[in-house]
């Protein structure tokens, strides 16, 4: 478990040294929201409010896809992935440390900021809280799914589009249940089923991702 903590620490230090700041995803979220607002300017305000959760969820998907390639790529290129693979007993734990680092870097800032944006756009406190819940349960699944694609394509040079093609269709269930939970809350309907389903999807990927990633990385380096 010592290596788990040190991998996360290393990843956070590396991302800080690379010039990346934790507020970048928030700026990204802002820009996408502005784009949506410009392109949907003709829509009634009430309809616009219904679309806010969808816009925030799509922003999360896009931020996740942008960074997902880097989960294993740098380690593959500088040779440190080989050390991971030799440490057979801890391989799955090391993979999970990398995935958690990715989630902390790309999604966590948005999760805390998105409800504030939602409130600013006229969404009620309760619906904003449900948005927060759906993001905190759903976005780790995005990182888990992304890491599978990243591991499968780690040895390919130009893999960005391929990763998006693999990952985006798999994000659909998360997007459906995430936005449904928020919309149900908006219309005062029951939203717990969607949150439970999001949790089940998360647990399934939490179980299978380390094993699939470990196997894929081994095949990629063979």
């Amino acid at each position: 478990m010592k290596s788990f903590g040190s991998i996360i620490l290393k990843e956070l230090l590396l991302i800080k040294r690379s010039g990346y700041e934790s507020f970048f995803p928030i700026i990204y979220l802002f820009i996408i929201m502005v784009f949506f607002n410009i392109s949907l300017g003709y829509v009634e305000k009430i309809v616009m409010q219904e679309l806010v959760p969808l816009m925030i969820w799509i922003s999360c998907l896009l931020v996740c896809v942008l960074n997902v390639e880097n989960i294993f790529k740098d380690d593959y290129e500088d040779g440190s992935l080989e050390i991971f693979l030799i440490d057979d007993k801890n391989l799955e734990i090391n993979v999970m440390a990398k995935v958690l680092s990715h989630w902390l870097i790309s999604n966590l800032p948005i999760i805390f900021f998105a409800p504030i944006i939602a409130i600013a756009l006229g969404i009620s406190n309760q619906t904003s809280f449900v948005l927060f819940l759906s993001l905190i349960i759903g976005t780790p699944t995005l990182s888990l799914i992304g890491s599978i694609a990243a591991a499968l394509t780690v040895s390919l040079r130009k893999n960005k589009i391929l990763i998006s093609i693999i990952v985006l269709p798999l994000y659909i269930p998360v997007l459906i249940f995430g936005t449904s939970a928020v919309n149900n809350s908006y219309f005062n309907l029951n939203y717990s089923t969607e949150l439970y389903l999001l949790s089940i999807i998360f647990l399934i990927f939490l179980l299978i991702t380390p094993i699939i990633c470990a196997k894929s990385l081994k095949i990629s380096l063979d």
Binding site: S3, E82, I83
Partner: protein, 201 residues
């Protein structure tokens, strides 16, 4: 027990092409094995097969300490495994943590041995090729691994670096360690108990 690794009739085939075939040797404590051969003869593939990254097509590898193989074995590959944006100290510190022991005095001593102490807080991206190689080799000194497996330890090293590595490796062998290296040519009188194995000869 003096036996560390037993390699028996090892072969690797890629897309119908035989990279190497029927390689057998026993690695015991105090022994150095130098795998030599021309470019593309399969030296790196053989090392990767020994450490378990590459699957052999035929033959088998027996690790006498398979329970603790990772902790007992250190592999330094062709690529440095160093993070460009981290300093030398940070790189070595994180490397140690994977092996479960963080000992700063060991890092300082190892840097001293390779005359790299003045670069302790220098980001790796500011180091030359040879200096990076020295930092890679320093990793062998900061863990308690018995078996050092090093892919081309002499590449990019100057004469002083080669001398330092040879002395430290012999010292490791004298202390019941073992060493597997690759090279373009056989090693003559570099280590006291050395076995040269040629690939593609």
């Amino acid at each position: 027990m003096d036996n560390l690794i037993k390699v028996k009739n090892l072969s690797v085939t890629r897309n119908g092409y035989t990279v190497f075939s029927n390689i057998s040797f026993d690695l015991i404590k105090t022994q150095s094995i130098n795998i030599f051969g021309s470019n593309g003869s399969g030296k790196t593939t053989l090392l990767k097969t020994i450490i378990g990254i590459t699957e052999p097509s035929n033959g088998n590898i027996e690790n006498y300490n398979s329970e603790n193989f990772f902790k007992e074995t250190i592999y330094i590959g062709h690529k440095s495994g160093l993070k460009e944006d981290l300093t030398v100290k940070e790189n070595l510190f994180f490397f140690q943590s994977i092996y479960g022991n963080q000992n700063y005095s060991l890092i300082k001593m190892a840097l001293d041995n390779y005359k790299m102490n003045s670069y302790i807080n220098t980001p790796v991206k500011q180091l030359s090729h040879g200096q990076r190689k020295r930092v890679s080799l320093i990793k062998t000194l900061i863990t308690n691994s018995v078996t050092w497996i090093i892919d081309e330890p002499y590449s990019s090293l100057d004469e002083d670096g080669i001398k330092i590595f040879n002395e430290l490796a012999q010292n490791h062998l004298n202390n019941n360690g073992a060493l597997i290296t690759t090279n373009h040519k056989p090693l003559e009188k570099t280590f006291i108990n050395n076995l040269n194995i040629g690939l593609g000869c």
